[in-house]
Symmetry: C2
């Protein structure tokens, strides 16, 4: 099972490509924006595809050609302006969904933010609300497709070392979670069809990742 | 037939409320953001509803209570940042669509921008592209509803005096168009059921507005 990781050069993306490369059943293809980001993945022995999320759907679809699943873990990041929130978190995500359909791929895992409900938009402060709106519509767009989706809503991401343990459910109390554990949750979701059609929040916890995903 | 004009205090909105107030068959309700914007509309004898587009769907739905049609002609304007592009042009528009459904209103006229196709997004420059994305998804959202919609794509808006003449078709050459003529096109669309389910571009031209709308 080959997995296109969109946003592979991000912090979750790098952990995820490593985990997929180490797994028995899965193989990664790292989608990166610039050729100079390739060496990290080539050193792992992973395939790369150089595509900018501001490219068109057909170009993204070429990167998805022949894969069995697509993971969207790209994000505009905290250092860019709200223009990139629109171009990457909203339009980049939806173009990736459309590219997945165009490539005939059925499985899609979306890394969303902790709470993308309409209520969360209304409660967000002025600075954060545009990001929540972008993620909300990307999630809504995905749910309206007939893709086999999983939507993962991580808590406050940290660079703490992985514990292999999380708390996952449709609603959990807001808390931190290591990026590396989110990468494990993505891997476990790809490996467990029970996660199809589900969306869930994940924070640090005491349940082994595979059990947590299996009990969603 | 009562018409809620969302964005009534905008330049097109003010022309439109005047035209609706003067018409025989239609009555306006001007949705405005601040109470201090009300006097213009009260002087016309028009009803007002004070609602911020950053309010929730239920609040917008109250403004739409009892109307027969909703016109969305709000825009974040050129002076605001890309955060308002997300909050108003995207989320404000979609919340208005959802509020229209929630209020049981069937007729919706959207004032879009000249070209909101996927191709237009790819061809737009970096500064303009986020706006096109926002308008694209608002239009797509509307088309996916079962509302009786009309989507109007005006050319480059000017404050030139109205001519009463336009050129309108699914595709026309990009050109200027007076805001006041766009207000007439909206009125003609509200008065002509043939515009339901249609979207069209409008620029200045030589065809009387009512004929142009009737021939779409």
């Amino acid at each position: 099972m080959k997995v296109l990781v969109v946003g592979a050069n991000g912090q979750i993306g790098k952990h995820l490509v490593k985990f997929i490369q180490k797994s028995d059943k899965l193989e990664p293809r790292a989608m990166i924006r610039k050729q100079e980001q390739a060496s990290f993945f080539e050193d792992l022995g992973a395939e790369t595809a150089v595509v900018d999320l501001e490219d068109d759907i057909a170009t993204i679809a070429k990167a998805a050609d022949g894969v069995d699943a697509v993971v969207f873990t790209a994000g505009s990041g905290g250092h860019t302006g709200k223009d990139k929130t629109i171009m990457i978190d909203l339009d980049g995500a939806i173009k990736t969904i459309e590219a997945t359909k165009a490539a005939g791929v059925k499985r899609f895992v979306m890394i969303s933010s902790f709470d993308t409900t309409r209520k969360a938009i209304q409660e967000a402060n002025e600075s954060f609300a545009p990001y929540v709106v972008a993620k909300h519509y990307a999630d809504e767009w995905l749910k309206a497709t007939d893709l086999n989706y999983t939507i993962i809503h991580p808590g406050l991401l940290t660079n703490d070392e992985a514990t292999g343990m999380v708390s996952a459910a449709s609603e959990v109390n807001r808390d931190e979670v290591p990026r590396e554990d989110i990468a494990s949750v993505i891997l476990a979701s790809l490996e467990n069809e029970k996660s199809i059609g589900k969306e869930f929040q994940v924070v640090k916890g005491t349940t082994p990742v595979e059990d947590a995903v299996n009990s969603i």
